[in-house]
């Protein structure tokens, strides 16, 4: 492989990884944008999504097989289920805490995250489950760069979901209401917007996007595990911050950027795989210190 080939291949790798980060980061950013809550449980909902997808698929596969059709069907079903779970969590755990001190709601979110991951741990005994599907290894070769059809479909699906979300937020009444609530909740209430309903909708969309990423990851990588949400949750948060937390295009951009950074970072001498995480956490910290609003975020003005 020439250097050019390597870089091209890493570009492809980074885009695929970045699409997953972006999908998960979107939920983070939407929830943060609307109620200023850092939802620690978001990564775990990604994990729950993968497990539910696995469950649904194992029920459905005798009927429709475990190839693309099966995966897509189970994806839609578990996206709905996880979306509802997200709404439930919001109602039970976060709604009563909205006026509580920030520390309390953060700890609550942490507790929810631990309940989800340790709940699955108890259920599965900590075992890795093989998410076996019928996806092939065939693909297209561009010179020395090889991309499977599966990877293309994944990136395509992620792009589709993200554009659908973008249109929803910018072209529909619900999307407008979401953006309005992000700016001033009380004013929205006065204007007759069902604030709670819109918040629930935001949770639904955000978590179901995470779930979709979870199922795709499960099917693509081939194994699922109770702890799979932790790392990606952190990375997606980093992505959201890079892009500017609260901004939807920012989350997409941040996700792709982080994916690329990690891929190319592997090639940088002295960083390599050993220091990779130090590298990405370092970026996160530097960014928060020097430009906490990220690339596309707005500066906040806090009033007395």
């Amino acid at each position: 492989m020439t250097l050019q080939d390597i870089l091209l291949q890493q570009l492809a790798n980074g885009l695929i990884l970045g699409s997953f980060y972006a999908l998960v980061a979107l939920g983070y950013t939407m929830v943060y944008g609307i109620i200023k809550l850092l939802n620690f449980a978001h990564g775990d909902l990604y994990m729950i999504g993968a497990f539910l997808g696995f469950l649904v698929l194992s029920v459905l596969s005798p009927l429709i097989g475990d190839s693309w059709v099966g995966i897509m069907c189970s994806m839609v079903l578990s996206m709905i289920a996880v979306g509802l779970l997200g709404v439930l969590i919001q109602r039970i755990a976060y709604q009563p805490m909205l006026s509580a001190p920030r520390l309390s709601i953060l700890i609550t979110a942490l507790a929810v995250s631990m309940i989800l991951s340790n709940g699955v741990l108890a259920f599965t005994d900590g075992e890795y489950l093989a998410f076996s599907t019928d996806l092939g290894y065939e693909g297209l070769e561009f010179g020395n760069v090889f991309i499977t059809y599966t990877q293309m479909v994944l990136v395509g699906a992620a792009a589709l979901l993200m554009s659908a979300l973008y249109l929803f937020v910018h072209r529909t009444m619900y999307g407008k209401a979401m953006r309005a609530i992000a700016i001033d909740k009380d004013a929205c209430r006065l204007m007759g917007i069902h604030v709670n309903r819109i918040i629930a909708l935001t949770f639904f969309i955000g978590t179901s996007l995470a779930a979709s990423a979870g199922i795709m990851a499960g099917a693509y990588y081939g194994s699922i595990h109770f702890f799979m949400g932790f790392v990606i949750g952190l990375k997606a948060f980093t992505a959201a911050v890079i892009g500017g937390i609260g901004s939807i295009p920012g989350a997409m951009l941040g996700g792709l950027l982080l994916g690329l950074l990690e891929s190319f970072g592997t090639q940088i001498p002295f960083i390599g795989t050993e220091w990779k995480d130090v590298f990405s956490f370092g970026i996160l910290i530097l960014l928060l210190v020097f430009k906490p609003t990220g690339i596309l975020g707005r500066t906040e003005i806090e009033r007395m």
């Binding site: 001190p101 309940i115 005994d125 220091w275 370092g282 996160l284 910290i285 210190v289």
Partner: protein, 328 residues
């Protein structure tokens, strides 16, 4: 100051009074119970076996860690998800200095304090200006960075860690038995309680509370909130660092796996379960943390699940924790 101290427990006291055990409300009766418990703690090694001592030593160890984190989370109201990093700094300082450089154990403590302060300033300095939720993530990131550094460097023994750390001796008396360590950690826990108490009821302790309650108003009163938070951070770091030194000496072997994110969460659980910001609450939390898996062995695997559910319920229905609030 003394008047202030005695005034609070005097007219305040336990929520939900009444019932046959009302006598505990008086300062004197509380003192009796406290004396009894202190006596029990003092003489435990005479009446129990090594297993109980080992477990109780672990309890005192977590009491110290939880009290340290309590200064950051409970007093100053900052969510720190990377507290294990400070604990790691202390443990590795002792480990490296004793095993690579042959430094006496007791001399490693001031070094660990120094390094903990440095770590606290490095982590806190640039990040304490951030919003509290960002801070949580940054501390988490720092915790991971410290662990990865420990894993990758040669001097820290890489992923296998350090082994054969010398047990300390004091005036020729070697601290090697579990009963010796029991007293060492009991002493440390008492010291931690004492320091926590004194700090809480001081100018500094009040300043933490002001900043926790209303940062802007505190700043308007001339309190430098960044400096005050950094103070909390650094003192918390020192607690963790010193605890780490003794941990290394007791275990004689340390590895990066001990300082994973889960360890930080465990310590945080101890702080939150019993009641943030209150010393007795934090002690109860530390007890629950260590004793639960020992007593309910069958539930051991789901201990974090049980704790997390309790934590959620506490946050929703009793944010001040199990330990009752004083009323004024």
């Amino acid at each position: 100051m003394d008047r202030l101290d005695s005034a609070a427990p005097g007219n305040g006291d336990v929520a939900g009074t009444g019932g046959p055990l009302r006598w505990l409300e008086s300062q004197k009766n509380r003192l009796i119970v406290l004396t009894f418990l202190a006596g029990l703690a003092m003489f435990l090694p005479l009446i129990s076996n090594n297993y109980v001592l080992e477990v109780m030593t672990n309890v005192w160890f977590y009491v110290m860690l939880c009290l340290g984190l309590n200064i950051v989370v409970g007093y100053a109201g900052l969510l720190d998800l990377g507290y294990a990093a400070f604990f790691a700094v202390g443990a590795y300082t002792t480990g490296i200095l004793t095993s690579h450089f042959g430094v006496n154990f007791w001399l490693t403590i001031p070094a660990a304090v120094l390094f903990s302060i440095c770590a606290g300033v490095i982590i806190g300095g640039p990040t304490l200006r951030l919003r509290s939720d960002y801070l949580a993530i940054v501390t988490l990131g720092f915790g991971e960075i410290v662990r990865i550094i420990a894993r990758n460097l040669e001097i820290t023994g890489g992923a296998s860690g350090l082994i054969g750390i010398e047990k300390p001796s004091l005036f020729g008396f070697e601290i090697s038995q579990i009963s010796h360590f029991y007293y060492v950690f009991l002493l440390l826990a008492c010291l931690a309680c004492f320091v926590s108490y004194r700090l809480q009821h001081s100018r500094l302790g009040r300043a933490w509370q002001y900043v926790r309650e209303d940062e802007d108003a505190a700043e308007a009163m001339g309190i430098d909130r960044v400096a005050i938070k950094l103070y909390a951070y650094v003192i918390g770091a020192i607690f963790g660092g010193v605890a780490g030194c003794f941990f290394a000496a007791k275990m004689t072997a340390i590895s990066p796996e001990t300082f994973m994110f889960q360890q930080s969460v465990l310590i945080l659980l101890g702080v939150v379960l019993g009641g943030m910001g209150k010393i007795p609450g934090v002690i109860i939390g530390a007890f629950a943390l260590v004793l639960f898996p020992e007593v309910f062995r069958d539930l051991g695997s789901s201990r974090i699940l049980v704790f997390a559910i309790v934590m959620l319920v506490i946050m929703l229905y009793r944010p001040e924790g199990i330990w009752p609030e004083k009323k004024t």
